[in-house]
């Protein structure tokens, strides 16, 4: 199977994560420098961070979850979705960072 690149994989992960039930918001998980460059260049890159070293792919996603949901359960589902977004069976470590616990609108 053809190995997909980090640039191809990251937007697929964004879509997969957004579709997970319980995910209220998605944020950039990319390093500060990458975000700064995007800002200067006025472009919007992917939210997921994919560090693509052959044989050691590392995926990081950053989400917001409702205070009324178990964020660990939602994050576990997010991790599964992120792993499933790649179709090349490349092994990956996944880190899910819950950056906000958002109160439901009153």
């Amino acid at each position: 199977m053809t190995r997909i690149t980090a640039a191809e994989l990251a937007p697929r992960i964004d879509l997969a994560v957004t579709a997970v039930e319980g995910v209220r918001e998605c944020y950039s998980a990319r390093p500060v420098v990458a975000r700064a460059l995007e800002h200067v260049a006025d472009v919007e890159g992917s939210l997921a961070a994919v560090d693509d070293v052959p044989g050691a792919r590392a995926i990081t996603v950053c989400i917001g979850v409702s205070t009324e949901d178990d964020s660990a359960a939602v994050a576990t589902a997010v991790a599964a979705a992120a792993r499933g977004a790649g179709s090349d069976d490349e092994p990956a470590t996944v880190r899910v960072r819950v950056a906000r616990l958002v109160a439901p609108a009153s």
Partner: protein
């Protein structure tokens, strides 16, 4: 974009920038703010504080709120919402690492206070000395004049414990709630 050093979440924008952005109705959209968790937490807090300020002004109508009051609260909120350390939330068999930021927990604790009648949350502190240790929480609150303090403190303490322990493996140790002030509202005279 401001050139101050106190930018929020590596976005390149300061508290003042975010305030101006909110005042403009968040237009034109700035991706560096909209895609940044810390900026979003601060904006949500600013909106909440704005609503609270308007309510107090409408109810008391005695004297306008000092800018310093709003600024001091917002600076405290901004300090808390810097994402801080990552706290392990759960472990999975496939090696997935799931963490929650300290900033998210600060926001959660403030949300608990927002839901309790007659309580305003001031300062929040979290202590998590070791990865497997329970979280200790210290909160300073203001209680509305006439509200039973013991009941308010118990409600706050139980609410914090329940809200945090709903999430994965997180466990709470001590919850210290200090009543640091008493406030008036609903038309009461100072």
């Amino acid at each position: 974009m401001s050139e101050h050093n106190d930018d929020i979440g590596g976005s390149g924008y300061t508290l003042e920038d975010l305030s101006a952005y909110l005042d403009r109705g968040r237009t034109p959209r700035i991706p560096a703010i909209e895609r940044n968790a810390e900026c979003q937490a601060v904006l949500a807090s600013m909106e909440r504080m704005g609503r609270l300020s308007r309510e107090i002004v409408e109810e008391q109508a005695a004297e306008p709120l000092a800018d310093s009051w709003y600024d001091s609260i917002m600076r405290e909120v901004m300090r808390e919402f810097r994402s801080g350390r990552d706290i392990p939330l759960a472990r999975t068999e496939d090696g997935t690492e799931i963490v929650v930021t300290e900033g998210a927990l600060y926001e959660l604790i403030r949300a608990v206070g927002d839901g309790i009648e007659g309580v305003l949350v001031g300062r929040v502190r979290l202590d998590h000395p070791e990865p497997d240790a329970p979280l200790d929480v210290r909160v300073t609150v203001s209680v509305r004049f006439g509200r039973a303090m013991n009941a308010a403190v118990d409600e706050m303490r139980d609410g914090i414990r329940q809200a945090i322990e709903r999430h994965g493996d997180l466990r709470v140790g001590r919850v210290d709630v200090t009543v640091g002030d008493v406030h008036l509202d609903e038309g009461e005279d100072e």
